[in-house]
Structure formats: structure tokens, C-alpha cells
Amino acid sequence: MFDIDHISRLVKIKLSQKEKKELEKEFSLILKFVEKIKEVKIKKDVKPLRHIAPLKNVLREDEPKEFKKRKLLFPKEKKKEDFFKTKPVF
């Protein structure tokens, strides 16, 4: 069953009592809606389709390359020298 406390802990979103109540109600409708898929009879040979692109994994040559564009990764205000600066969280 859909246990809102358990799931909200998993996704790390704090929910108020009011929100929990409303979401529970909405979820009973949403789950009813998506559960329609259980009607479908699936033959054994049907494989799950995770991705549509007809691509195989391609590995590049294993040569070290230096990554110089660190500015791409860091928002300006959080870049300090070559490091990432954040407020203390521990």
C-alpha cells in the first residue's frame, strides 16, 4: 500500500499533516488511474523498453584528458578557486 510517511522519507520532502492528507486522497485517484495497466495481458517474450534510441554503448579510447572547464560545473557564486563552496550542512 501507498504509505505516505515512508515515501516522503525516501524522497526527502517534508510534508505537513494537511499536505499528507490531501496527497493521500489524490494518490488514491492517481493509483486507480495508473492501475489500468494491470488489465494488459503480457506474453512472456515481451521485453521492457527502457530507451528508444537504437544505440549501443560506445566507449571512448581510454586516454586521460584534463578537464579545464570547471566553470561549466559551478554556479559562479559558489566557485572558490577550483573548489565548490557551500554553507555548512553537517
Binding site: I30, E35, V46
Partner: protein, 478 residues
């Protein structure tokens, strides 16, 4: 109404100047967008700078690229370096993009002028642009109606002539449905034709960037520029653009899936599409009834797969790396509790629909439910794709309505998630199967437009555009 080619000719002959045109558009937006709400951010400085470069190119180069000096708008989930990129969410309210998306890099190289970033449902989750954390966008054709979503700001900007074209993103219909609601053209290319690098991810196996334009020809011009393999997106496909020679409708077989014309479709929409079919038949088109038997499961399958991918993609909004954080106000209090920082940040800065989808996705992926929901959905996704494979053995192209209804009123559906989800019922299948699909206007009921959708086989983007051009011509003539 001008086309990109007309602009280009006028720029070339020096009848108008890119800088003047850009300033004129910016003035127009500043004056009139208060009533529409298409833009979240205007990038005035960047636009003027790009327009000046374009002007110079027209003086110096014999044949500058087609998009040189053409003013455009970009959905606010596509990164433009140095410009705020919010994805319609409070959590990214202060986020400034540190690089250009590949599609933007390509537009800039062509000389296109970026006027600003357009409004959208938060993280592209919604079908009306009412889920924007900032303000809803109104439909320029009828201001009490929604423009559709999630690329509602982009569609409204094109329909209100605040720009010549716009980029949007389409995960379950987010380009085509707003294009239909605003009476313009919207094109979702084959999955993999346009790089997703620099697109804020929602559901990675479904997301695709595409153009919203005034004509099919404009859509083709923009698509040609933004498509192509990209080393920064490993799912892009190498398929060089090959303009499909003009098609004669009489040589094509067009499929009409019976599942798209049944319950839930508004009478006016059904009649408009049937009228269009008759006109096309008179002009030599051959129609064939086909069946896509798993259509009725497409929407629930879509919601499970999309939500599952959402729950993973949105885990990065944790209040630490970028964007807004609960630490801004309560640093001291939370200092010792890592998880408290994350869960309070997400609670405060994510909207209701986003939370709903993260919760649903996590549930569908959780132990004990994975097989029942996510895995089963993936299997049915395969059946949906097989339906299309079979259909395309019989027909060249598929024609359907884009949306089951006319644009609905602001506020009409926002409190009922399921009702809102149903707005995407005709568009999600193309995303699940990765197919190219385009919406073009086919009729107006009073002020409200009806859109017609054309779905093509995998990688047949050029064919979709060519057929759409023919259909557009016939529907305009009569």
C-alpha cells in the same frame, strides 16, 4: 505575418535592420506582455549584442545563415549562458546558467537573436502553464483561456508575435499541445535528433527539444539548425538532414487510428478534424483506418515511466549544489542535520505537482512495487511501439487530433490532476515510441483553434515536415 525567409530577404536588401527589429520586438514585449505573461526573463543586453553582430554579418557576408538576426524566445528550461534559468520553479529562481545548451550554441552560431526566456509549468510538469511558480500565461487568442503547456510561454510568445519562433521541450506533448491551443505549429522531432545537453532534465528517455513557429517551413528551418549528433548527449543519433522532396499527397497513405476518435473527444474538435480529412481527400489524399490497440494504456504507462524518471532526475535539487536553499534563512538551526536541509529545502521550494510526481515515481520504483508498476509499464511501452511498427508497414504517416478539447479556461482543471493529465492523451504515445510528431492549426471555432497532429515513423522527421507543408497549403487554400 512574416516568415523567416521573408525576414531574411528584407535583412539582405537592407529594407529593415536586425537591430531595429530586435528593439521593436523588445518594446512590444515590454508594452504588451503584462497581459499575457509569456516571458519570465528578458535578455535585452544579449539580444541587442547579438542583433548588432547579425547586422554586421549582413554587411560583411554575402550569404549569412537563414536565422541571422531572427528574434526568438527560449523556454526557461534550456540553458543560455549568463541568463537566469528557472525551469518555472522557485528552487531555481536565482540560478544563472553557466553554459549554453547545444541547441542554443547552434542558434547563436547561426546568428539568431535571443529575446528572453519563456514561462512554463514547473519543471515542464503540466498542460496549462498554470503550474509555473511565478504566474500563469494567458492564451493570446482568448485571454480567459490557458495557452496549453508546458511550453505555454513559448507558444503564447509566437502566437502574440513577440518573436518569430521559439524553442520548447516536449516530454508528453509539451510542444504540440500548446501549439494546438495557440493556433501555431509545434514540432517534436524523433527522440535523439536534437541534443538534450543543457536542457533541464525531466524524464530523460522522453524529453526532446523542438521548435514552435508560425509556419511549417519555419519549423523546418529551425529544426535543420538545431538537429544533429552531439558528443555531449550520447543518445543523439547521426542522421544528416535530408530535405524530403515535395510530396504529392496522392502518393501517400495516411492512417487514421480509430482509438483517437472515440470517447472523450470534444464534438467541435472531432468535426474540425473530419472536415480537414475531407478537404485532404478532395485533394487526392488516401486515408486508411488503422488500429493502435494499446492506445488506452499510453497515458497511465506514460505517467508511471515519466514520474519514475522525474524522481531520479530531480534528486539533484537538494539545497546544496545550486538554486535556492533553506540554508539562506535557517543556516544555524540546520547546521548539524544534513537530511533536514534537503527535506526542508524541497518542501519549501518545490510545487505541488512536482512533489506529486516525485512521490509517485519513487513509489513505482520502490521495493515490492517495481515489477507491478515500473517494469510492467516498460513492457507495455514496448507493445505501444510495436503497434506503431505494425501501422507504419501499412501507412506512411498517421493523422490524429492534437488535443481532445479546445483550449480550456484558466483555473478549470488545475485542482483535478487526472483531468489535467487527460489533456495529453493524444500526444504521449509519440514520446513513448520516440516518434516525430507535429501539430498544425486546422480550424478555428470562434476564436479558439483546433490542432491536427501528424505522426511519422522513427527518424522520418523530414517526411513529417514535408507532408505537413502540403496539408498546411491545402487547409489554407480552402
Amino acid at each position: 505575418m512574416m516568415s523567416i525567409l521573408e525576414f531574411y530577404q528584407k535583412f539582405k536588401k537592407r529594407e529593415i535592420s536586425p537591430v531595429e527589429v530586435t528593439k521593436e520586438y523588445l518594446r512590444k514585449i515590454e508594452k504588451k506582455d503584462k497581459d499575457i505573461g509569456a516571458f519570465i526573463t528578458l535578455s535585452k543586453k544579449l539580444a541587442i549584442k547579438q542583433a548588432e553582430i547579425a547586422e554586421k554579418r549582413f554587411k560583411e557576408e554575402e550569404n549569412p545563415p537563414l536565422l541571422c538576426g531572427i528574434p526568438c524566445a527560449i523556454k526557461d528550461n534550456i540553458l543560455v549562458e549568463g541568463i537566469k534559468c528557472t525551469a518555472g520553479s522557485l528552487i531555481l529562481e536565482n540560478y544563472i546558467a553557466s553554459f549554453d545548451a547545444t541547441a542554443i550554441k547552434k542558434l547563436k552560431k547561426e546568428g539568431a537573436v535571443i529575446l528572453g526566456k519563456t514561462n512554463m509549468d514547473e519543471f515542464a510538469m503540466g498542460s496549462s502553464t498554470e503550474n509555473s511558480a511565478f504566474f500563469p500565461t494567458k492564451n493570446p487568442l482568448s485571454k480567459d483561456r490557458v495557452p496549453g503547456g508546458s511550453s505555454g510561454g513559448s507558444a503564447a510568445a509566437v502566437a502574440a508575435d513577440f518573436c518569430q519562433f521559439a524553442l520548447g521541450s516536449d516530454t508528453g506533448g509539451s510542444i504540440r499541445q500548446p501549439a494546438s491551443f495557440c493556433g501555431i505549429v509545434g514540432f517534436k522531432p524523433t527522440y535523439g535528433r536534437v541534443s538534450r545537453f543543457g536542457l533541464i532534465a525531466m524524464a530523460s528517455s522522453l524529453d526532446q527539444i523542438g521548435p514552435l513557429t508560425k509556419t511549417v517551413e519555419d519549423a523546418e528551418i529551425v529544426f535543420k539548425v538545431i538537429e544533429g549528433k552531439d558528443e555531449n548527449d550520447s543518445t543523439t543519433i547521426k542522421a544528416s538532414f535530408s530535405p524530403f522532396s515535395p510530396v504529392s499527397l496522392s502518393k501517400l497513405k495516411i492512417g487514421l487510428p480509430k482509438e483517437y476518435f472515440v470517447e472523450g473527444i470534444q464534438k467541435e474538435v472531432k468535426e474540425s478534424i473530419e472536415e480537414a480529412i475531407k478537404k485532404l481527400e478532395k485533394n487526392g489524399a488516401h486515408f486508411e483506418n488503422i488500429s493502435l490497440p494499446h492506445t488506452k494504456y499510453a497515458l497511465p504507462v506514460y505517467y508511471l515511466i515519466m514520474s519514475s524518471e522525474v524522481s531520479s532526475n530531480l534528486a539533484r535539487y537538494d539545497g546544496i549544489c545550486y538554486g535556492r536553499s533553506i540554508l539562506e534563512e535557517k543556516g544555524e538551526e540546520f547546521k548539524k542535520d544534513f537530511f533536514e536541509v534537503i527535506s526542508s529545502t524541497r518542501a519549501k521550494f518545490l510545487g505541488r505537482e512536482v512533489k506529486r510526481r516525485i512521490l509517485l515515481g519513487t513509489f513505482a520504483l520502490s521495493a515490492g512495487y517495481f515489477d507491478k508498476y515500473y517494469l510492467l509499464a516498460l513492457k507495455i511501452r514496448n507493445l505501444i511501439k510495436q503497434d506503431f511498427d505494425k501501422a507504419f508497414k501499412k501507412v506512411d504517416i498517421i493523422l490524429t487530433p492534437t488535443s481532445p478539447t479546445l483550449p480550456f479556461k484558466l483555473g478549470e482543471r488545475i485542482s483535478d490532476p487526472i483531468k489535467m493529465y487527460l489533456a495529453d492523451i493524444y500526444t504521449v504515445s509519440a514520446n513513448l515510441a520516440g516518434l516525430p510528431a507535429l501539430s498544425l492549426p486546422c480550424k478555428k471555432i470562434k476564436k479558439l483553434p483546433v490542432g491536427l497532429q501528424i505522426i511519422g515513423n522513427f527518424l522520418e522527421d523530414e517526411k513529417v515536415l514535408s507532408v505537413a507543408k502540403e496539408i498546411e497549403k491545402i487547409l489554407k487554400e480552402t
